[in-house]
């Protein structure tokens, strides 16, 4: 049946591929408007300080400066992307809470003047004690970062499903391990930027965003404007990965500067400022306990986590919930307890990064599971097969899983990688490891409470029938949603991809959509597009029926040709029928909207992690470790995904490669580091080490046959799923290679070197003890020698 699709399932070229590779595509930073000013934000040099006085007079006097603003010039209303914890101000009012907190902004005629003006703003601070560690921040007497949150606790979660204590009591083996995940930053290649124009009561913002809708909603709220008076337009976007989901100081300050000056204002973050704005992955301390029976079947799991949230909430409440919620997806167990505390510190705020909340706990769990398997003498892959989730099941935290081919993913990864021939049999220094993952295909509920549909689409067929335009709020940030949705629109209408046009992610011209996050667009925006396409097709077949004197039910339309079913030689073109439709009835338009069904349980936080469908993946990797230096080389990775029906194989595999690349960076190379005063030590691409092309291994991205009943044509997510298993997968491969376990991310060369040295020392003293007890065999003596 699936082979029968005309447009979907094919690797058509990206709809914006040509303009991107030729450099014609315009990003926000490329845009110029007449009279445009340049703006920039002054930020705090202290991690925690009271603002005593701000003097802007000198800056205002500098020729070319058009406006200087502080908290006095902007609405005092607190904002944030998590409605339960609005805790940010456009500019700090009483105090600053991290190095990089927003204090003032300038608009001037050019870059040079702006930078000069920033230096002329005088801010007097009273420096306060600061705290950078979540455990210290919770201690009695720690500096209080927000008055409203005692002991700096931002979010506390305690969930219990089934009875974990009872499960542990009945278990054959119970084990606890503790891991630490590091702070990372999304590092999109394109810096954040925004151009704001406040003209005649209407605010227009061109911006690099993952969600025009949330930007529009929060900007309108901040300035007390009706949403209809705020237009947010996405330009081409050079990556977001979670960091561009919420408006920044650039949009808020830019709007005010534009209103004051009456001119368009362009603002941007440089690389350092991007790191300070952050919203990347949280640092997280993760303790996991599980109880298993004699055969390795998991009976119960307790996850006990603490997160460093940084100075503000950002999307962190969701992150905190996701961290625990998604642990139940991959393995089938009935008893689960999740405790989490997200803590404020005087560091940049953390938020959602690709795989939102899931990758670090997954690293912890997959390492832990390998150790449990080792305790029981079970092969790690076999351990996962024994516990793998089955289709049509419900997790202990009440997520309904429809399609699930995790078992087949594991089996196929096993075959592709040659697991059975390699596990335990590779030469010294080489190792193989496995980990699995799962992710939502869109969140079951939006970020703020609303009953709006999650996605909507309009298709307008051109009056002469030569093309069709899809209007969608879905947000292409490089992942290719414009392409995939046009394929879907063409398929649903019976049209051709090559004649599709798209207008997307402009709150004024396109219908509402929540945007690019939680891997939602192929399923959710796709469902709306399918409905719109089918509405076009229905009207078109009715018209063709009239024209051809055939009942519409007897007609079908495919690749731009309307024909009588079973007699394809009797046909007219899509274009002919569309043109005639316009002549007789006016514009030919199809509409669609998508709202997910009611999902999940009723307990506190039950909404986070719900989704109409879940992707599953198994990853196996082979690594080589230099036993003298600790250097890690990833040789090869096999990723097998269950992502439902595939709309565009090339883009899908591109997503797997990209997600794996990010997971890989977080595994070994990336970490945001701070000095003792909370200043970022590596806010640049030299010392924040994203992997390079030379570091990338050979990747095999494979798929299993799968169909998701909740998704249009059977689709589900892929964009974030492949980030999730990677860290655990490498950690397990390193263990297989060298017999060492690194309990914190990233698994740097030095940490591996250190663990190898500790193991050598331990082995050495153990061997010596044995040698003293019994005469050493030549074999043992050899192993003790320097290893």
């Amino acid at each position: 049946m699936r082979d029968n699709y005309a447009v979907i399932g094919k690797s058509v070229p990206k709809i914006d591929g040509r303009v991107k590779v030729t450099g014609q595509a315009k990003y926000t930073g490329d845009l110029k408007f007449p009279n445009m000013l340049v703006g920039k934000i002054l930020t705090s040099p202290h991690p925690h300080a009271r603002i005593l006085h701000i003097d802007t007079t000198e800056a205002e006097r500098l020729p070319g400066v058009k406006a200087v603003i502080t908290h006095k010039d902007v609405p005092p209303l607190k904002y944030g992307i998590s409605p339960a914890r609005w805790d940010e101000n456009i500019f700090c009012i009483d105090k600053v809470r991290f190095v990089g907190d927003k204090v003032a902004a300038v608009a001037a005629v050019d870059d040079e003047t702006v930078y000069k003006a920033l230096k002329l703003i005088k801010v007097d601070y009273e420096v306060l004690p600061a705290v950078f560690d979540p455990i210290e921040a919770m201690a009695e007497g720690a500096p209080q970062i927000h008055d409203e949150y005692p002991r700096n606790i931002n979010t506390e979660i305690h969930q219990h499903f089934g009875d974990v204590e009872k499960a542990f009591a009945q278990a054959y083996h119970v084990r606890t391990d503790r891991f630490v995940g590091q702070r990372t930053y999304q590092s999109p290649i394109e810096p954040h930027s925004a151009i704001s124009m406040w003209e005649g009561g209407k605010l227009t913002v061109y911006t690099s965003t993952q969600s025009p809708h949330y930007f529009q909603y929060y900007i309108a709220r901040q300035f007390g404007l009706p949403m209809g008076d705020v237009r947010v337009v996405k330009t081409f976007v050079g990556g977001g990965f979670g960091g561009k989901l919420e408006p920044t100081g650039l949009e808020f300050a830019g709007a005010v500067l534009s209103r004051l000056t009456g001119r368009p204002v362009k603002m941007f973050y440089d690389r350092h400022e991007m790191f300070a704005h952050n919203r990347g992955r949280h640092r997280q301390i993760m303790e996991i306990t599980s109880g298993v029976d004699r055969d390795g079947k998991i009976l119960g799991v307790h996850a006990n986590f603490i997160m460093d949230g940084g100075a503000y909430t950002s999307l962190g409440i969701a992150t905190a919930y996701y961290a625990g919620a998604m642990l139940t997806l991959t393995y089938d167990f009935a008893n689960y307890k999740f405790d989490m505390i997200r803590v404020y510190t005087n560091l940049p705020a953390c938020g959602a990064q690709r795989g939102h909340g899931a990758p670090q706990p997954r690293y912890a769990f997959e390492c832990h599971l390998d150790m449990v398997a080792q305790d029981l003498g079970i092969d790690p892959l076999e351990m996962r097969l024994r516990n793998a989730r089955k289709p049509n099941t419900i997790t202990p935290n009440q997520f309904k899983i429809n399609s699930c081919e995790l078992e087949e993913c594991i089996q196929q990864a096993r075959r592709l990688s040659g697991w059975d021939a390699k596990k335990g049999k590779l030469p010294r220094g080489r190792g193989i490891g496995i980990a699995v993952g799962s992710f939502v295909s869109g969140a079951g509920y939006p970020i703020y409470r609303t009953n709006l549909p999650h996605a909507a689409a309009i298709i307008k067929v051109h009056e002469d029938g030569s093309a069709a335009t899809l209007y969608t709020g879905a947000t292409d940030i490089g992942q290719g949603s414009d392409t995939v949705l046009c394929q879907m629109a063409a398929e649903a209408m019976g049209f051709v991809y090559e004649r599709m046009k798209i207008v997307a992610a402009d709150t004024e011209t396109t219908p509402h959509d929540f945007g690019a996050y939680a891997s939602r667009q192929t399923l959710m925006s796709g469902a709306a597009v399918k409905q719109a396409g089918e509405e076009v097709k229905k009207q078109l077949l009715a018209m063709a029926g009239e024209m051809m004197q055939v009942a519409p039910e007897e007609l079908d339309c495919r690749e731009g040709v309307i024909f009588v079913k079973g007699r394809p030689e009797v046909n007219i073109t899509f274009g002919e029928a569309a043109r005639e439709f316009f002549v007789r009835k006016g514009p030919l338009i199809g509409r669609g909207a998508y709202t997910p069904p009611t999902l999940g349980g009723t307990f506190r936080g039950a909404a986070v992690g719900t989704s109409p469908a879940y992707s599953f993946a198994a990853q196996i990797s082979e690594v080589e470790v230099d036993e003298e230096t600790g250097e890690i080389q990833v040789k090869e990775v096999w990723d097998v995904h269950d992502c439902g029906t595939v709309i565009n194989p090339a883009l899908l595999h591109g997503q797997v490669h990209g997600a794996l690349y990010m997971g890989m960076g977080e595994s070994v190379w990336e970490e945001v580091l701070f000095d003792a005063s909370g200043r970022i030590l590596n806010p640049n691409l030299a010392e924040y080490r994203l992997p390079t092309a030379l570091d990338m291994p050979k990747i095999t991205s494979a798929l299993v046959d799968s169909f998701e009943p909740a998704g249009p044509w059977g689709v589900k997510e892929v964009g974030e799923g492949a980030t999730i298993p990677t860290m655990g997968c490498y950690a397990n491969a390193i263990y297989d290679a060298m017999g060492i376990r690194v309990y914190s991310l990233p698994l740097t060369y030095e940490k591996v070197w250190r663990a190898l040295r500790e193991k050598r020392n331990a082995d050495f003293s153990q061997n010596r003890q044995m040698a003293e007890a019994v005469p050493a065999t030549p074999d043992e003596a050899a192993r003790g020698d320097g290893r």
Partner: protein, 302 residues
Amino acid sequence: MRMVRFIREGGKAMYLPDFNYYCPHSVQEACAILADLGAGAKVLAGGTDLLIKMKHELVVPKALVSLKNIRSLADIGYVEGKGLILGARCTHNDLVNSTLLHQRYLSVAEAAHQMANNQIRNIGTVGGNLVNAVPSADLPPILIALGAQVTLVGPGGERTLPLEQFFTGPGQTVIAHDEILTEVVIPDQSTTGSTYIKFGLRRSGALAVVGVAAAVTVVERVIREARIVLGAVAPTPIRAREAEERLVGNAVSTELLEEAGIRAATACKPISDIRASAEYRRDLVRVLTKRSLRRAIEQGHV
């Protein structure tokens, strides 16, 4: 360490401060301008170090004197009796692609190839790498191992000294503010092999955590002469003399190289920074010394 110094105060400008710009056509003219302007003037070559420092306001020169019009500084040549001459304005990619280097000292071309990334290699220069004098710089160790000399030209004339004596501390050298480094000379020599091993934390675009260069003269498996130079483990590149002494006069063996490695590790004075701990660096010196010796002994100038 270098990057640590780049940290700016929050909000401090990432914008080039104002400066006057000169682009003279001869070394003499350049020296005269430098002498005239005093300490506030700086030489500009590729700018890959200098302009970044200026953007971060770590240096704020009143004037830049560009070498871009002084063509003679961009040559690589061989002069009988003198040796192989690298003009100070040669880019790293000039070294990477030099046939002369490929024939005589592939090790230098390989060291240049391990630097930065292609964009930086296309514009960053030999002179800049030396005068900038960062302890982790990649060219000094291999050039010192090969006994390179540098020529400095000032308003008062010219002087030549061993590169080994050029560096005095992080970011510090013997060069006077009105002097220009014009060329690096690798003298003719009897060494049978040389190499540089850089240990960075990723495959491209990573500064050296440790760099070890070795140059050896081996005759019938006996080491006649050895020079080992360590980068990124002391305020300047340093010779591992105790290790060298252990080698000379002895037949090549695994134990010997191990021992040289241990001696080099003992001699170095690493610090801890965001890239690595002192302890790790020291052990890397041990491993890389032994590996670089093995490679120079077995494979020639690579």
